[in-house]
Assembly symmetry: none
Homo-oligomer: 229 residues x 4
């Protein structure tokens, strides 16, 4: 939630909050599109329909604006992940839900995927500074751990697995498809962004993960209902 910076700021009017939000939206778009170094403050200001100098008034500098965008983006996905309520479901269902959610989130929030990419280009310089973001990782792996554990106990999952390793694989199967869509599309001369291609990929990713956990079979797909939003 921490997304304010200016040390001088005391009371924030509703209008000022609106300005900040528009600014963050515009900045997220720009940073996601061209990265931190590629982003132009001018462009962000124009897109947010505000005076360029306001950016400096509200956030101090370009880097701090980027940091605010990054933190907001992380807090959003975490909020949704923890809202999935995986704990109460059947482990297989829960895992399908999680994988499906992850894939859908990537597709619908490409800005987020690209933001992460850029943050890695920056060698994680900003994520390392954000305590809030760093602290969001452990509940995530705990959640995964519990789900896998339950599956193993019920006998539906064949193997125990490191939740971190599993999370990275789920993310890799989903994020990479989005983040590298351009080179992959060019390489295989196939439009990976078509609805049918997305649907196909979604199923494939779920299949891979469940197969790995020992719970997925081709036959099992018959009743597939979990459609994309």
């Amino acid at each position: 939630m921490a997304q304010k910076k200016p040390p001088t700021r005391k009371k924030a009017s509703a209008q000022a909050d609106d300005t900040r939000d528009r600014l963050l939206d515009a900045a997220e778009f720009e940073f996601a599109a061209v990265g931190l170094s590629g982003a132009r403050v001018d462009t962000i200001a124009r897109r947010a329909k505000i005076n360029k100098q306001l950016i400096y008034y509200h956030f101090g500098d370009k880097d701090s604006l980027y940091q605010a965008v990054l933190e907001r983006a992380y807090s959003r996905i975490r909020e949704k992940e923890f809202g999935l309520d995986l704990a109460s479901d059947d482990p297989i269902i829960a895992m399908r839900t999680l994988v499906g959610f992850t894939f859908d989130y990537c597709i619908e929030n490409r800005a987020f995927v690209r933001l992460l990419i850029n943050e890695n280009v920056l060698e994680g310089r900003f994520i390392r500074r954000s305590k809030a973001i760093r602290q969001s990782g452990s509940p995530l792996s705990a959640l995964l751990h519990d789900t896998v554990q339950r599956g193993v106990e019920l006998g539906t999952f064949h193997r125990d697995v490191d939740p971190v390793q599993l999370y990275i694989s789920i993310a890799g199967l989903c994020y990479f498809y989005v983040s590298n869509m351009y080179t992959l599309s060019a390489l295989f001369e196939r439009d990976l962004d078509r609805p049918s291609a997305l649907q196909e990929r979604r199923q494939h990713v779920i299949d891979v993960v469940l197969a790995y956990l020992g719970a997925g079979t081709p036959a099992w797909h018959a009743g597939e209902l979990n459609s994309m939003p």
Copy 2:
């Protein structure tokens, strides 16, 4: 915007070739590290220990230099991939080889991974211009297709699978680990770059892929010999 091209250098001196190579190496390093927009021509020149103007002499402009770096990077991995000689091996072995190779290549050639990332930030603008790169995709999927096919025919693979989908998954499981190592390390407060972590990940990726193809079981690991280079 590339104005000039070196006049189809025929009698290029050995020294000039050396200069070009040093230049491409330095440029690859810089582009991989900070992306196209983040890269500084000055920095590249300094790193290559040449005069900045030489960059313009040899490559015309920054974009063309980037394009040259990208093409060289792709041609290198393709060369190695086709050198794997998967066709003659047992499909399981072949697949283990391919997945292992892909993982190892990512680990050893992080610059390449980052280069791809950046090219995607640029929306594949340069890869689309390069016929050579685009043409390297289809033999790759053909190779994969054959291998899978053989596995299916031998009964060791349980299912048929789209080779493109499979390739993207293999790549995703490997590349994502490298490309997003910084954010993942921060998030899970775990150093993913330790030799033991790399070895663990390598095995995990192979397990996932083979499990999906229906050829991998935990028990099966006992005889694992495929160590990292």
Copy 3:
């Protein structure tokens, strides 16, 4: 460029006066520290713990604020100088008092010294506009003239002297030490701001002035009592 002036405030509240004072103090500090061009309106406001806009409310603009600070500073030293009551003392005592006072004032009011310095960097632009300041010079030289005259008549001073020339020398011996303390300290690798260094300088300056007037001898120092505050 001063647009507006507070409407000749008559019923100024006590609070407003307090605000003005805090503002002038903060402004004096800032102008003395970094000069007119170096001073930041923001910094002054923050230091005075008031809202920046109040500066404009009270003084119209930055230049007028500077002018007010300058006038207050001059009026303060003149007030003290005329309070010295040199007229009734023995000329030698009077001169020792004046020189000592000038030195002490410089040491204790470095902001004032620096303010003058800056005003000279500005080529006296603001002092020329201030009738009040300009008019304070002539009584000063008259005072000096009388004192020297009395000394000459009593035979304790050996020579007549231009009071303006004398005043400038006294000031030069004192102000320069303070205004150029940083470069001098660096040059001679000696901390000129130590209490003992200050005391030594104070005596030296008195010696120089009295020697010039023909009234000072080294032996004469024995009964020195005029200590620094």
Copy 4:
């Protein structure tokens, strides 16, 4: 002598040296006139008739340019001071020469006086970084010490004196007149920059210093020939 900065620079053409010199001259003028913070890079470039960006090419940034100007200015006056050859003269003559030189130098090189002033506004930030400047102080006080010593031994100077204290007084009597000429002129409503005023001041300063050393008498002035250049 140390006045080059750019780490990239290897061979300097005569033309480039000329550019650097013009740049330093223009910068000195500007810094002396309005201080470091008041100086405009644009103005300096225009005055030097060069492209503004060349400043960054040659000096890196505004601060480094200022540092180079400061070092050049100090090295110039030191060079002249040590060229006075005070050691071989009669101590009284030597002292008159030194004081006269100091005064004349201030009058003719007001830029230097103002440069020092500004450096003190900056709290000696740059002089402290310059080893070359700092090291020039000790030979100076040694020179003064010797001269005074010789005068004392010959009996023409009545007292021993700290050479640093003496140097500061000489400088104070000279520099202050120049550095504070604007406020002093306004205060005493007298143009202190007239040739006759300068000549008068020059004599006064010499008188004060020699009177202090015990070597000056009003009568003694009769043969004064040491005119201003």
